[in-house]
């Protein structure tokens, strides 16, 4: 760590030097260019437009009112260019006289379809959107009016087909992300993530629990590396969701790819941005009427958040830079939840010649998180509070239960990502690109129950260091040439190697001398644990795009992969792809008034590798009474290979009504063959761990629709509405002879059913006032939503005020919410049963005679089971309501742009009428790593209010 810190310091020392504003000396008095950028459609002003002189290092960003000023312009004739993603670039010639100002106004039109925009994710090198036969979703930071503070929040509902599920409301908690449902029931369904071409840690950090037996005791947060990225550093995010698009990423990409592009330097004088964000969070109600906060009221609080960010970007053609730094503090709704985050970034672009460009991006973040003990663990706050007098203290008094807070749970996360890309184009139609990147993550957990702890009078300390090192080599050569006057070819050849090494070292100590600050070294009894595993994946790919008259495009490609986790007898895996696109609106028969339309179709394969040790028959070294000992670990499977997903994608991208309506539609049909199942082994054969086998077949199909409409376009008023809609239906088509198996929390893998399906016993007479009648097996439905609808609406008002709101509905899925079951089986009086107890105030759990059968089952200890708590999990949540207010009038003229954004987030939720308690956006102890979504002993995502003031100068 110290070496990393030294490196980081060096990087930012250099950044600081480069970032210093420079002055220019000129023989003549310079002039200046002033002007305004407005929309073609409405005449409304446009902010965030990069206006620059391509031949110099001069430029500026337009303010919210559309105005800009470029200073220090040498006298003479210049080309002035205006660019912003999503808008058609425009340029004008101007002549600047010495000491004079010249006015240049730009009118920019929306490019709803953006057929000539460049996308890079999923293509070898880069391609114009018109050439790509698969869907590529793009999210622009500038398009998000509510200033999200986490990247996960940016993605939530922002793209059709993405499912970003919160794990709970603790500080530091990450989200669970899936694209197009579950393509695996054994491996992670988390997409892999690239940042500026460098593979970064994609999985959430592990939930650390102390090794005290059967404990689940520890912070239980699964922070997401995505949330380490400062949203203000992000230019845009590209998402490709299925194998038809992810083929060129090979063995680890069947769950999709998210690529983040951070801001790079811009030509012109330094542009500084400073931002402060002040916020407040409070808990939503998540219990039944008898206990709206599940008895947690004495501990819940309002928490306050404070964020500060500064960045500078600028440079000349040959050297451009973007640097940023941020500091954030956060209080959660639970009494010990706090976070302090420091982050810094430096992005540099060197272009010594027109043919050669070097891009070097680096970022460092340190996130210190303090956590309240929550989760299903006997010594944690939530479990003891939820169970009342039947808790582990035998006492519901908040003063007694507060003993659980005498616990220091500190999580320190450090991340450092650096990567360099060399792009060399010796001739116009030949480009070579090589990226080398390194991504380092460390999570260090110190979990101390100090001397005097209720259950550990002599104290206990768990220290867990988890590190992930990712090394990326990625190279591609692309050569474009014309076969004849109407057909051109874009041939690409490349390779990629990614090494992933995870190291875990954990120390446990117990019984400390009370007078010293405990370390593991001062413990009377200690234990140590270690795990190390490295996996390399390497592959080559080749691709050719044939273009005919710039409107028909045919792409064919192949990737061949090797992976160190494959079985010794497996060999290499091949992933083919083919796609076609047709810009039908470029045809002569297409009427001018019909808008733009591209039809597309794609087919491709990609995979998901097994774990590092899954292929080999192994034993585990274990100690016993000071002597070495062995225990069986893994049966092994020499033929183990990746599960391979094949996907067919059909769809269109269109813009209509003079670009006032844009629509993107995609239908996909995925089949994962050789699906990896963790097949249970026969206990009497000695190996108790399940073994991965390539035996199954999973299917996923669905549709995605994105609609954006400009309903009203006036100079002062505008009304935009949009919706992202996606469906997903999965099915386990074949279990390969394996029996149905449980994934826990009611989730099962059953042939012919969704993956996973919620399967439990069921009460067949739920409403009858009689003894429960029980059906032994009942398949309720999928655990993943089958329908996600994310509508958004924005109103542009006079003076540039923008009101915006967005929400998200998820439905068609089921969850088991068995939190109350843990109390009932212990004869605790639980809040959901209060309407049915004869006397809610005494200790008896006797029920009223007219108690319906379902509630008899739920509230009677001897027949209680988690099975009786299965619910349809449909909900709609208002994700944000925001107002963006230009504040230029209130700041000095040196400030280019000032905006105040007020946002109320996660403020209102509609639940299915059967839903009794907790929240669908919660998870069990293993957080984002849980395969089955099932609300656990946590608190839900809080309601938050934020005020953000951003200034640019």
């Amino acid at each position: 760590v110290s070496r990393t810190r030294r490196l980081v310091r060096a990087v930012f020392f250099v950044v600081g030097l480069v970032g210093l504003p420079t002055t220019q000396a000129g023989a003549q008095e310079p002039g200046r260019i002033v002007g305004r950028v407005t929309a073609v459609e409405s005449g409304a002003p446009i902010g965030e437009v990069q206006v620059y002189l391509p031949t110099t290092r001069l430029g500026a960003l337009s303010r919210q009112n559309g105005t800009f000023i470029i200073l220090q312009v040498p006298p003479g004739t210049h080309e002035v260019r205006a660019e912003r993603i999503g808008l058609g670039a425009v340029s004008q010639q101007v002549t600047v006289a010495a000491g004079q100002a010249v006015e240049v106004n730009f009118r920019m039109g929306t490019q709803a379809l953006g057929l000539d925009e460049i996308v890079v994710t999923g293509t070898a090198g880069a391609a114009r959107r018109r050439e790509v036969g698969n869907s590529v979703a793009q999210l622009e930071m500038a398009d998000l009016p509510d200033r999200p503070v986490k990247v996960g929040d940016m993605l939530q509902g922002g793209i059709a087909g993405i499912n970003v599920g919160a794990v709970g409301g603790q500080v530091g908690q990450g989200q669970r992300i899936t694209l197009r449902g579950n393509s695996s029931v054994a491996m992670s369904n988390q997409p892999i993530i690239y940042i500026d071409g460098v593979r970064m840690q994609s999985q959430q950090y592990p939930a650390v629990t102390s090794p005290d037996n059967r404990g689940n005791r520890g912070p239980l947060i699964t922070a997401s590396p995505l949330n380490s990225i400062n949203p203000n550093d992000i230019e845009r995010i590209e998402v490709i969701k299925g194998s038809a698009a992810t083929t060129l990423y090979g063995t680890e990409a069947s769950a999709g790819v998210i690529q983040i592009f951070t801001k790079s330097g811009s030509v012109g004088a330094p542009v500084w941005m400073v931002e402060t964000q002040q916020g407040m969070v409070k808990s939503r109600k998540f219990g039944p009427p008898a206990a709206p906060y599940m008895w947690l009221d004495p501990w819940l609080r309002r928490g306050y958040t404070h964020d500060y960010t500064a960045s500078v970007r600028g440079g000349a053609e040959s050297l451009r830079y973007f640097t940023s730094g941020s500091h954030a503090t956060e209080e959660g709704i639970l009494p010990l939840d706090e976070g302090v985050k420091w982050a810094a970034r430096g992005n540099f672009t060197f272009a010594p010649t027109g043919q050669l460009q070097l891009q070097w991006n680096s970022a460092y973040v340190h996130d210190a998180i303090q956590t309240t003990p929550v989760g299903s663990a006997a010594e944690h706050l939530t479990l003891n509070a939820f169970r009342g007098a039947q808790n582990y203290f035998g006492n519901a008094d908040p003063k007694v239960v507060s003993e659980t807070l005498k616990w220091d749970m500190d999580t320190d996360i450090e991340r450092f990502t650096t990567g360099g890309t060399i792009s060399y184009a010796p001739i116009t139609n030949l480009t070579n690109r090589l990226t080398i990147g390194y991504d380092f993550s460390e999570q260090l957990v110190n979990s101390l129950r100090p001397v005097g702890h209720f259950f550990w009078p002599l104290g206990a300390l768990d220290v867990n260091s988890w590190q992930d090192r990712l090394l990326t080599f990625d190279g591609v050569t692309a050569y474009t040439f014309d076969i004849n006057s109407s057909i051109n070819s874009n041939f690409s050849l490349g390779g990629q190697a990614v090494g992933d090494e995870i190291r875990m070292v954990e120390g446990w100590g117990e019984s400390f001398p009370g007078a010293v600050a405990p370390t593991l070294s001062s413990a009377a009894r200690t234990q140590a644990f270690q795990d190390r595993q490295k996996v390399w994946n390497a592959g080559f790919f080749v691709q050719n795009i044939f273009g005919v008259r710039d409107r028909y495009f045919l792409t064919a490609g192949m990737r061949i992969d090797g992976n160190s986790a494959f079985g010794s007898g497996f060999g290499l895996q091949m992933y083919p792809k083919a796609s076609a696109s047709w810009v039908i609106s470029d045809e002569s028969f297409w009427g001018d008034g019909l808008g733009s339309l591209k039809l597309r179709a794609a087919y491709g394969k990609s995979g998901r590798a097994p774990g590092a040790f899954d292929a080999v028959r192994t034993w585990q070294g274990v100690g016993w009474n000071g002597e070495p000992a062995f225990a069986p670990r893994n049966v092994g499977n020499a033929d183990l290979g990746p599960e391979v997903s094949a996907e067919l994608e059909l769809g269109f991208d269109g813009s209509f009504l003079n670009d006032r309506l844009s629509a993107t539609f995609t239908y996909y049909n995925q089949t994962t063959s050789d699906a990896l199942f963790r097949v249970l082994q026969i206990p009497s054969q000695g190996f108790l761990e399940s073994q991965l086998l390539n035996v199954g077949t999973l299917k996923n199909k669905g549709s995605e629709l994105t609609l954006d409409g400009a309903l009203l376009q006036r100079e002062s008023w505008g009304l935009d509405a949009g919706v992202n809609l996606s469906t997903n239906h999965s099915k386990v088509a074949d279990l390969g002879g394996a029996p149905s198996f449980s994934l826990g929390s009611g989730g099962w893998v059953v042939e012919g059913q969704p993956a996973p399906v919620i399967r439990t016993r069921r009460i067949t007479n739920p409403e009858a006032a009689e003894a429960p009648k029980i059906e032994a097996i009942y398949d309720w439905g999928p655990n993943s939503p089958t329908l996600i609808v994310a509508p958004s609406l924005s109103v542009r008002m006079p003076y540039g005020v923008l009101l915006a709101t967005r929400g998200e509905y998820r439905g068609g899925h089921y969850m088991q919410v068995a939190v109350e079951s843990g109390g009932v089986t212990r004869s605790a009086k639980v809040a959901t049963c209060f309407p049915y107890y004869v006397d809610p105030l005494n200790t008896s759990v006797a029920l009223k005679p007219d108690t319906p059968a379902l509630w008899r089952a739920r509230c009677t200890p001897s027949i209680n089971s988690g099975d009786w708590y299965t619910y349809p999990a449909d909900f709609f949540r208002l994700r944000s309501v925001s107002a963006t207010i230009p504040m230029d009038f209130a700041v000095p003229s040196q400030v280019n742009r000032a905006t105040l954004t007020l946002s109320l987030n996660e403020s209102w939720t509609w639940y299915n009428s059967e839903w009794d308690y907790m929240d669908p956006e919660m998870q069990g102890n293993n957080g984002a790593h849980e395969q089955v979504v099932s609300p656990g002993y946590r608190v839900p995502v809080p309601i938050s209010f934020r005020a953000t003031l951003q200034m640019q100068f």
């Binding site: 059967r214 390779g495 190697a497 390497a538 992976n563 590092a612 070294g621 000992a629 009497s684 200890p861």
Partner: protein, 436 residues
């Protein structure tokens, strides 16, 4: 038209890129990770002792569950109402062990794994390996013997290596075979352990002459202990840990015969205590509520070892063999030799011998003395089944739990651990559900 220069440049660039990536790929995919050991390396001589130790550790993992679960079902303790960790589902609290319940798969799986390790070690040592230390081979036989004894004593049926269900007696046959081989190669305490184990097995199989013969060679002060490892939470003494208030208070001595017996006798073999700070156990029992908490103090730390066999049990085996022959007076002498070795914790004098006036009464005392001597050692559950099978005379000191809650009357005591769901669902030779 393409320039030849440009074309060759392209080819050279592509070749270079391909060569670099090929080198990376070839070097990168050959990865050796530390940690797990590949199966073939266990034949190495340096691994033999660790493999044998693995069998002993496996027995410890399984015995932890057998002792703990068996104690609740055989009413050596009263359930504290805890479910989940260190707890039991309500049916098990009442006394039932059902094939798809949560209390049976753990003991089954862990003991099956222990058996596999021990018998796999024997297979390697007698087949694949040229040289093995006699002490390692003997110990492998001893662990295999004891593991099969525990399985035969507690399981309803036997299954070996994914095969079909067989009578539980097959475990005992294997146990006797292994222990006989151990006895032929072992010396000293290792041989005593083998013989004591075989005496237990022969008693379970009804071979009282053989059991007496083996028991006779074991001194009364001999104990064969299974080491409990205090450095690993999985291998703690579970009976202690379940009442250590860290944070579990999962079992109680409320309503048990042993609690009253200790109060009256001060017999140091059945001690208990209470903690005024915690008047009730960690949860509540269905239909009854919070359970008054008193707890056994036979095990005082999480590192207290389990006794697998001992000289006192051998005397009781001799006594039971005599009862089988109707020689109840001699049997009383033998069992009182065990009893009077103990000094009352309350009176500080040796315990008074039991005095019987009939064969039936002698059986009652034998059952009582055996349940006291082997209290919380994982034996009472098997003894109940054995005595029921053989329809032995004499009464049991069976406590009245039924009057506390219908949970106990609704769930008649199980006699053995059935083949659990996880074996049924994976083993093609076993029906998925009992009786199907």
């Amino acid at each position: 038209m393409r320039s030849p220069y440009r074309g060759s440049m392209t080819v050279r660039t592509m070749r270079s890129a391909a060569a670099i990536l090929c080198a990376v790929a070839c070097a990168g995919c050959d990865v050796t990770n530390p940690g797990p050991i590949q199966d073939e390396f266990l034949n190495d001589a340096t691994s033999h002792a660790a493999l044998v130790a693995g069998a002993g550790r496996g027995l410890l993992l399984g015995l932890n569950e057998i002792v703990y679960t068996g104690a609740v079902v055989s009413r050596e303790v009263f359930p504290g109402g805890q479910t989940g960790n260190f707890g039991f589902d309500p049916l098990t609290q009442g006394g039932a062990l059902i094939w798809d319940g949560s209390s049976v798969s753990g003991p089954w799986s862990k003991l099956q794994q222990a058996r596999f390790i021990a018998e796999d070690a024997i297979r390697r040592f007698t087949g694949e390996v040229e040289v093995v230390k006699p002490v390692d081979l003997a110990q492998a036989y001893i662990w295999a013997g004891y593991i099969n004894r525990v399985l035969g004593e507690n399981m309803c049926e036997a299954v070996f290596n994914g095969g079909p269900a067989e009578p539980a007696a097959r475990y005992l046959e294997r146990a006797e075979e292994h222990l006989t081989k151990a006895a032929t190669t072992a010396t000293g305490d290792q041989r005593n352990a083998a013989l004591a184990g075989r005496a237990q097995v022969r008693a379970l199989r009804g071979n009282w002459a053989g059991a007496s013969a083996d028991a006779a060679g074991i001194p009364i002060g001999f104990n064969f202990m299974l080491g409990v490892d205090g450095l690993n939470f999985d291998t703690y003494n579970w009976v202690y840990w379940s009442i250590a208030n860290s944070p579990y208070r999962s079992i109680s001595l409320f309503r048990t015969w042993y609690k009253d017996y200790y109060t009256q006798s001060g017999d140091p073999r059945t001690p208990w205590a209470a903690d005024t700070r915690f008047p009730v156990a960690g949860a509540a029992v269905s239909g009854f509520g919070p359970v008054p908490w008193s707890f056994p103090t036979k095990y005082k730390t999480q590192t207290d070892d389990w006794r697998l066999a001992g000289g006192t049990e051998m005397r009781l085996i001799e006594a039971e063999a005599l009862l089988e022959q109707g020689q109840w007076q001699a049997a009383m002498t033998s069992m009182n030799a065990v009893r009077t070795r103990n000094v009352s914790a309350t009176t500080r004098v040796a315990l008074q011998p039991w005095v019987a006036t009939s064969l039936t009464e002698a059986w009652t005392f034998l059952k009582r003395e055996r349940s006291i001597e082997l209290w919380l050692e994982g034996r009472h559950f098997g003894d109940l089944r054995r005595w029921e099978d053989r329809k032995t005379p004499g009464a049991l000191d069976w406590p009245d739990f039924e009057s506390t809650t219908p949970l106990f009357s609704a769930n008649p005591r199980a006699r053995c651990f059935p083949i659990p769901r996880n074996e049924r669902e994976t083993n093609p030779n076993i029906p998925d559900t009992p009786g199907s």
